[in-house]
């Protein structure tokens, strides 16, 4: 293999009397292309009606429904309502919806429709694709959390985090939980064979997880064996961490361990991030399995 002279970069031979390019222009940086991806991801997210309704708005709708029906009930801790528990749980569900559910279905669709293959055929750095996803998921997560907090404060007596420490808890639980759920979403996107089967295949386990993790019903009402199942997955820990950010300290008695278990929450979520990262790196495919 010989090295090509620079002039060929133009694709036109000087022999033909065409002007050669001044020099080899540099490839755009990973950051530039990654941000370009992020912009496109966000644009398409908010243009897809199904996404806006089923991924973005649905948690708020469910919160209003659940809150209206059960929100007034008191729990055995004075000053704490079921509505407050629902808001915290639904924020966890909303984070998983914008990360796990959206990425799982969205990437399957992109792969099935050939968009990933098309991107792979360009000089776009592969990292840029994932930067784009991170930008999109992060922005959507913030918007989702804000939306649910507004609904919570307006209708369900949600109190904003009481101190800087509580805000910090909110931040790390959201970021760590979102990272774990995003990686899980990217990993499961390899499982469905087509875009059509993606939605049920990814939504069903997510719904089950929401039921057993204290999103749709207070975690104390979940049978102990299902609580143990839920404790394997990130959503339960995210909901618990968020309750610790929004509820008064005395509400910790409602938790199975009678404490917020911040250390364990961080550990479980971090383990999911690490495992998810390994699985994604090893299994991510740019092409559909259909030959």
């Amino acid at each position: 293999m010989t090295t090509r002279p620079r002039r060929d970069m133009t694709g036109r031979k000087p022999l033909r009397g065409r002007p050669a390019a001044a020099s080899e222009a540099a490839l755009p940086s990973v950051l530039t292309t990654g941000l370009a991806r992020g912009r496109v991801e966000l644009t398409t997210f908010f243009r897809e009606r199904e996404t806006v309704v089923f991924i973005f708005a649905l948690p708020a709708v469910l919160l209003v429904m659940l809150g209206s029906i059960f929100g007034g009930q008191a729990v055995r801790v004075p000053g704490v309502t079921v509505g407050q528990l629902f808001v915290a749980g639904m924020i966890a569900g909303g984070i998983m919806s914008t990360s796990f559910q959206y990425l799982g279905i969205g990437i399957t669709t992109e792969r099935d429709q050939g968009m990933l293959k098309r991107l792979y055929g360009t000089p776009m750095p592969h990292t840029a694709y994932f930067i784009g996803k991170i930008v999109q998921v992060f922005v959507c997560m913030i918007a989702e959390i804000a939306l649910l907090m507004i609904v919570g404060v307006a209708f369900y007596h949600l109190h904003l985090p009481a101190s800087a420490g509580h805000w910090w808890t909110l931040a790390w639980v959201c970021v760590l939980g979102c990272a774990a759920c995003s990686l899980l979403g990217i990993a499961v996107s390899s499982l469905p064979r087509s875009a059509r089967s993606a939605s049920p295949m990814i939504t069903l386990p997510f719904l089950v997880l929401e039921f057993i993790s204290g999103v749709f019903i207070p975690f104390t009402s979940v049978p102990p064996w299902l609580q143990r199942v839920a404790a394997v997955f990130p959503l339960k820990w995210m909901a618990q961490g968020l309750r610790s950010a929004f509820l008064p300290a005395r509400a910790a008695v409602l938790e199975p361990a009678h404490s917020w278990e911040h250390g364990r929450t961080a550990l479980v979520l971090a383990a999911w991030v690490a495992a998810g990262l390994v699985v994604c790196v090893r299994t991510f495919r740019w092409q559909s399995r259909k030959r």
Partner: protein
């Protein structure tokens, strides 16, 4: 490898389980050529092209595309090639202009999106969502995305499948324009007419092998016997001959003037093609 060679393939093989999709292909495509891979479905065209594009690993053989091995080439190599995949996919919720401008950000020296939209004849549709385009319009966008980075080499995989005749001809004009600009074009098609209209040279693939290679006219006519037919008092006679001129001169002498009902025909590319792929069945 000389600078005049865009693609060099030797002994290329690819199996999918029991199926041998590519069974020992050798090719050399020069820079500036429009080269067609012609063959029926399942002949190995797409597999071959996808190996050249770096989408698929190969089982055996040597491949060089613009001087690099597509299996290991990096971003700067990708910036020099353009790819139009077989299936026009429904893209994301973006307009034609947004999509083209977005892909332009991946390349070091992209074309101006608006000029490119004009080049592919989509100026009127620049603000339309991708999902709202007709098949032919979507294909034009595919080509625009393939050439937005000013590739030296453009792969087109069955670019006009499903087009109506008018759309196909417009598309051919676009490809000719690119070829005139010096872009090397590798095209797969199962339309004979398309290979004949666009390609300087073509390879006929059947059963994963190259069964014929050359200029369309060579594969069609030259070297194959012509058919000379004329009327005799006993009825019509037809003779296959590699020296039809000599034969007609002899007949004229015998007839002492006009030869009644004389026709001389060469086998068309289509005749040759059907014969070639028929051998493989």
């Amino acid at each position: 490898m000389g600078n005049d060679t865009a693609v060099r393939v030797s002994g290329l093989r690819k199996r999918y389980g029991q199926l041998t999709a590519v069974d020992g292909i050798d090719l050399e495509i020069r820079r500036g050529e429009v080269f067609a891979l012609l063959g029926p479905n399942g002949a190995g065209k797409t597999t071959t092209v996808e190996i050249l594009e770096g989408f698929r690993p190969r089982d055996a053989g040597a491949v060089e595309v613009l001087g690099e091995d597509p299996g290991s080439a990096g971003r700067s190599w990708r910036a020099r090639i353009g790819i139009v995949l077989q299936l026009a996919s429904t893209g994301p919720e973006l307009t034609v202009r947004e999509m083209i401008a977005h892909f332009a950000t991946f390349y070091p020296r992209p074309r101006d999106p608006d000029e490119l939209i004009e080049l592919v004849g989509m100026t009127d549709k620049a603000g339309s969502r991708l999902a709202a385009l007709s098949g032919g319009q979507a294909r034009r966008v595919d080509v625009a995305l393939g050439i937005v980075g000013r590739p030296e080499l453009l792969f087109l995989d069955e670019p006009t499948t499903g087009f109506d005749p008018q759309a196909r001809r417009q598309f051919w004009d676009l490809i000719r324009q690119l070829a005139a600009d010096g872009v090397t074009i590798v095209l797969t098609t199962h339309y004979l007419e398309e290979a004949e209209a666009l390609a300087g040279r073509l390879a006929v693939l059947a059963g994963g092998q190259v069964v014929a290679l050359g200029k369309p006219a060579e594969i069609g006519g030259a070297g194959r016997p012509a058919r000379v037919s004329w009327d005799t008092p006993d009825g019509r006679r037809t003779v296959q001959t590699v020296t039809p001129t000599q034969m007609v001169a002899d007949l004229a002498r015998q007839a002492g003037g006009e030869i009644p009902g004389l026709t001389v025909t060469r086998p068309t590319l289509e005749d040759a093609y059907l014969e070639l792929i028929g051998d493989q069945r």
